[in-house]
């Protein structure tokens, strides 16, 4: 026992020393990664001590990313689509991440995040359940099993977070389209061109739909090809069907010609219909979520307020 405590004390001392002096790690050119491939939460502090280990382990899981020929290829393709839909994806060559507050921004950092959170969840569960295990004299296997379960939960936590972010942004785009597509129709009915619409609408504040219009505008300003802008939005927002439909129709009109007013008329009506439908659906989902909270709270509070005094009297009288 004394030896273990001694070793642990030594490790703690070493960590404190490292924390205070922060010795600069040796630069290894072959290991140097660009900022976009480093996990944000492991920069500086205790995290930097773990960074290399976590990222190396993550690269083993990651394999050859979307080029992978095994089952991981499909998984990575899904991750990539979700990263793009959530507007978290920091593409190679881009100067800054599109969403600086995101926990990760590409497949590399996502796997690092998965490994890190699996480890953290597992460690916290092991310590927490270990303490309880000692107090209540549980067998050693109990904290171990709980720690493994917690690690698995931690491993899939980034998947959940990313899926939620992508879904939330998809819904936000549909909501915004309900007001912005009729506005686009107004421009067309007033005789303005699609390029004028893009320029004017992206100059003003807006939500994620305006952000996607800015993507078209940005690609156009680089390539002077608006079709590539539409393609970029279709690629990024593939799960958002109303936006994809709008872009495909605008793309086709730009290529083949046609009545833009008629097309936008249909899309404006559809966008308002979709907005109303989504709001109703969201209202139902929110009600369901709230009912879980209300039911759980009521149950616990009733137990504390009404049940606990009765139990206390029972214990006192025994």
């Amino acid at each position: 026992m004394e030896y273990i405590l001694g070793i642990l004390g030594g490790v703690c001392f070493l960590l404190i020393w490292a924390g205070l002096t922060r010795p600069k790690a040796l630069e290894r050119p072959q290991m140097t990664k660009e900022e976009q491939y480093r996990l944000r939460s492991l920069r500086g502090g205790v995290g930097s001590l773990l960074a290399t280990a976590v990222e190396d382990l993550a690269s083993w899981f990651q394999g050859r990313a979307t080029d992978e020929k095994t089952w991981r290829g499909g998984l990575h393709a899904r991750y990539l689509q979700q990263l793009k839909m959530a507007n978290w994806y920091w593409a190679p060559g881009e100067a800054a991440p599109p969403t600086p507050g995101a926990r990760f921004w590409n497949i590399e950092t996502m796997w690092a995040s998965k490994v890190l959170y699996a480890g953290l969840f597992g460690l916290v569960a092991l310590i927490g359940m270990g303490v309880f295990g000692l107090i209540f004299q549980w067998p050693f296997a109990v904290p171990l099993v709980v720690a493994v379960i917690a690690a698995v939960v931690g491993f899939f936590d980034p998947d959940r977070e990313l899926a939620e972010a992508a879904e939330e942004r998809r819904k936000q785009i549909i909501l915004e389209m309900g007001t912005k597509v009729p506005e686009m129709r107004t421009y067309i009915l007033a005789g303005r061109s699609i390029m004028f619409i893009l320029r004017d609408m992206t100059d003003r504040p807006g939500g994620p739909f305006v952000q996607e219009l800015r993507r078209i505008q940005a690609v156009y300003s680089l390539t002077t090809d608006v079709e590539r802008g539409f393609e970029a939005v279709i690629d990024y927002c593939r799960p958002c069907q109303p936006l994809v439909n709008l872009c495909v129709d605008l793309f086709a009109l730009h290529k083949e010609g046609g009545d833009l007013g008629k097309v936008l008329n249909t899309h404006a009506d559809m966008a308002q219909h979709e907005q109303a439908r989504l709001l109703r659906q969201q209202g139902q989902d929110n009600t369901q979520q709230m009912m879980y909270v209300v039911a759980a709270t009521t149950l616990i509070v009733i137990f504390i307020l009404v049940g606990a005094p009765a139990m206390w009297i029972l214990v006192q009288t025994l």
């Binding site: 270990g130 209300v294 606990a308």
Partner: protein, 309 residues
């Protein structure tokens, strides 16, 4: 075996705690310092303004304290545990905030409905004589409530030489409403257009009416959800209050009085009260989730929060 786990757990806990303290101290000097220290009331005012609740921080705090004291006293009377008072006090702040949000939403709903009517007024005015000045005057004269005020402001501004786009932008910045933004775009385009725009304005009036209807429907859903949840959450407190009053009126000491007078009872009461407040805040947030479009900044960092010390 348990000694091993104990040694490991304690060692890790001790090491972790010491490291946290060391990094806390070491990191303190690197925090960004703000030129001026933020006091409490201005900080609350910033949040109130951002949420467009339309009250001063002093009013909000005063009203919240008043409700908080009432809730705290009710909880303390219901349980007999004074510790619940503090959770009730905190509940007052959440309750007043939720009420102010409801009032803001109602205000915005009325505004959107008035905008839909204003769009019709513009179409009628344009059909009789295609003049933007005349259409703005018509809304200022026949429009409802705040919409009439806004259009009076725009009409006055344009008469005194301000461009229409600038005058509309000033109102748009203040209102921050997608419905107004779209309507302002239509007005601006109509003013700029030399040809026939009645069709465009008519289509836009229809769209504005539909946007106002969707917004109202959303609000009704939200309000209903919030009320249902609130009654569900405060229900147990009503049950306890009735139990206590019932037992007192039948000559007893009051249900739970002995238990809630003990330290364990005080903690249990505080936990129940805190859980109630947290659940109230959480359900209010859930009710509004995904129902409004969040604005994104034009450039990264433009809308970032100031660094807190």
């Amino acid at each position: 075996m348990s000694e091993w786990i104990l040694a490991l757990a304690l060692g890790l806990l001790a090491g972790g705690s010491v490291l946290a303290v060391v990094f806390g101290i070491a990191g303190a000097g690197r925090r960004e310092k703000r030129v001026q220290r933020q006091t409490l009331l201005p900080a609350i005012q910033v949040r109130l303004d951002r949420a467009q609740l339309g009250v001063s921080a002093t009013t909000y705090v005063g009203r919240s304290l008043l409700y908080g004291v009432v809730f705290g006293l009710l909880m303390a009377v219901a349980t007999g545990a004074f510790s619940t008072f503090f959770a009730g006090l905190a509940g007052g702040f959440a309750f007043v905030w939720a009420r102010l949000e409801d009032r803001r939403n109602d205000r915005l709903n009325q505004y959107h409905k008035a905008l839909a009517a204003a769009a019709d007024t513009v179409v009628n005015s344009w059909e009789s004589k295609p003049s933007m000045g005349r259409a703005l005057e018509a809304v200022a004269q026949w429009g409802q409530g705040e919409v009439a005020d806004d259009f009076r402001e725009v009409a006055t501004a344009t008469r005194t030489g301000t461009s229409l786009s600038k005058a509309l932008q000033q109102v748009a910045d203040r209102r921050q409403s997608h419905v107004f933004d779209a309507f302002a775009t239509a007005l601006f385009l109509a003013a700029e257009q030399s040809g026939e725009v009645t069709n465009m304005l008519t289509r836009h009036a229809e769209a504005t009416r539909q946007m106002a209807n969707i917004y109202e429907e959303t609000l009704d859903t939200q309000r209903g959800q919030r009320q249902d949840a609130m009654w569900g959450i405060v229900g147990p407190w009503g049950v306890l209050l009735l139990l206590r009053l019932g037992t007192i009126f039948t000559g007893g000491l009051g249900y739970g009085t002995e238990f809630f007078a003990t330290p364990l009872g005080q903690i249990a009461g505080l936990m129940a009260a805190a859980l109630t407040v947290v659940a109230y805040v959480s359900t209010n947030r859930t009710a509004a989730r995904g129902m409004i479009v969040k604005r994104v900044p034009l450039e990264h960092g433009a809308d970032d929060e100031p660094v807190e010390e």
